[in-house]
Amino acid sequence: MMRRLRKITPFQVALVTSFTALAAFMSLPIIFILNHAFKPQNELFLFPPRFLVQNPTLRNLESLLLHASNATVPFTRYLFNSMIVVVLTLVCVILVSTMAGYVLAKNKFHFKQLVLSLITLSLMFAPETVGIPRYLIISGLGINNTYFGHILPALASPVAVFMLIGFISQIPGEVLEAAKIDGASQVGIFTRIVLPLSMPAVATISIFTFQGVWGDVETSTLFMQEETMRTMAFYVNSLLSGLQNSVAGQNMAAAAALLIFVPNLIIFLLFQRKVLETMVHSGIK
């Protein structure tokens, strides 16, 4: 309240202006992606290079969608794989992590402390560091070249569970007790009370999971040997590796970057509002 009553000083105006300039500078890569994807071939290699597109065209997207790697696997197959994987992973991660987060936050049972400290410890875990054993396990389970190979590793998401534990612990115990007295079962409490109340946290982990899975190349590189099972991010990455010194493929890479970025943006915009709104208005502390 006090803040609103403060007078706006020239210093503050200068601060906001320079901060705006900084924000604009930081988002240059994004503006670039948006423009680059719609540039016709001749503008991609114009000299002097232009940042903004002059004559936008959909040619790049078109040639990307019709393109097939090694003339065997069409781009749409990668796109399809990515969509299947990301949808299934999102649903499973939300369900699995909220369930785990709920019991770890609210229930008492043996080995709970052990699991909790393992999760805290594994926050520092980066899958990239132990790619080899993960590969061995995936082949041991025989789930390479299946969608399980994409989805199951993503379910082990200590960050998601950690966030949910933190959020669900803030739900007052009395609410759950009251429900229990009213005769609700554990499953009932979970689906009717915990899940709806932890929607902001669910939205947050959805954003991160989506980003992680949509842009992930590790599972496709290590666990998928068949080209038909690999995802779009992998395909785009392989397009890029020849890009440094060559002209061919620039247009497709630009369009592909857009395709990777836009869904991320949409899902973030969808949930950002929700996250901020609910965090401000929900009275749970």
């Binding site: 990239e128 080899i132 973030f268």
Partner: protein
């Protein structure tokens, strides 16, 4: 066998006490079965893809293994070789990683807080746009952004950076940014800083919202005069959990970064190892040379480094959780 009755009695009583406890334990497990059931899907994946791989990496680190035969136990040889003979590891991977991590980790972290705090000072209506502007690069992810970096740092006059510098007259001829060992690591650092406003940044933003506003009023009465004091005495202590969380995220993000050099140069091994990080070293030995045992040993070292970095962060923020 003849056993006297009296000494036998306490023993039986003790064993029955143990059995009673054992039964009770199982009864409690059975009572909490729903909890275990809820936890099971996560726990199984967690064990399979995180705990067991880490243990396996630890074990494989003591072996020589090519991925096809049977791992051969070699004791500490991998580690001895790593610290005495692996020149690339000692002179390139380790110093590069330290330089990279020390700038990108703390640097990105401090910038994240600074920007989150500045955004929080803005009116609520326009906060979202600023959040998006800072968050978008990390959201786009490495793969999408490398298109941008490749175009920006292109080695000819068509590259945006070269073009800009030539126009300003700061350089005379285009610089081959991504192939030059003088510049590669610096570019990697800049690019990583650009994308360091990720989970931790959002967590800080959320944390700033949770700070009790009345504390600021109280602080003003108690003689806090400047914004800087407010930040140090009220804001930071109030959002300690979020600060710690984003510190951990910053550490992980920094130590696992390695794909960036490959994405920038298009090569698994960067020119003269200029951008060679420990992660690249692991990939080199694992997937190019197929010395999985040695690669695992290197990854164990990386895990140990990140463990101590995390421990440091926990100490720094005085967490109750001992690590």
């Amino acid at each position: 066998m003849k056993i006297e009755l009296s000494p036998g009695l306490p023993q039986r009583r003790r064993s029955s006490a143990i059995r009673l406890k054992w039964n009770q334990f199982w009864l409690q497990i059975w009572r909490d079965r729903v909890s275990y059931l809820f936890l099971a899907p996560f726990l199984i994946c967690f064990l399979l893809f995180i705990v067991i791989p880490v243990i396996m990496a630890g074990l494989l680190g003591f072996t020589s293994y090519d991925g096809f035969g049977v791992p051969r136990f070699v004791g500490l040889e991998n580690y001895i070789v790593m610290f005495t003979q692996d020149i690339i590891f000692l002179t390139k991977a380790i110093p590069n990683t330290f330089l990279f991590a020390l700038i990108v980790g703390p640097g990105g972290y401090i910038l994240s807080f600074l920007f989150a705090w500045l955004i929080h000072q803005l009116p609520i209506k326009i906060r979202d746009y600023y959040t998006l502007a800072f968050y978008a690069p990390s959201m786009a992810g490495g793969v999408a952004l490398s298109v941008v970096w490749i175009a920006a740092f292109s080695g000819d006059r068509v590259g945006y950076v070269n073009n800009f510098l030539l126009d300003m007259g700061w350089i005379d001829s285009p610089i081959i940014w991504l192939q030059d060992k003088k510049y590669l690591l610096n570019i990697m650092i800049i690019v990583s800083l650009w994308t360091s406003f990720s989970v931790g940044f959002l967590s800080m933003l959320a944390g700033l919202q949770t700070v009790n506003r009345e504390l600021y009023e109280a602080g003003r009465i108690d003689g806090i005069s400047s914004r800087l004091q407010e930040v140090f005495y009220i804001t930071l202590p109030s959002m300690r959990p979020q600060m710690l969380f984003s510190a951990v995220m910053a550490i992980v993000g920094t130590l696992k970064a390695g794909g960036i050099s490959t994405q920038l140069t298009g090569m698994a091994i960067t020119p003269s190892y200029a951008g060679h990080l420990v992660i690249n070293h692991i990939d080199d030995y694992a997937f190019i040379r197929f010395e999985l045992g040695y690669a695992s040993a290197v990854s164990v070292i990386l895990l140990i480094i990140s463990f101590f970095a995390m421990r440091f962060a926990y100490r720094l923020f005085g967490s109750k959780e001992e690590l």
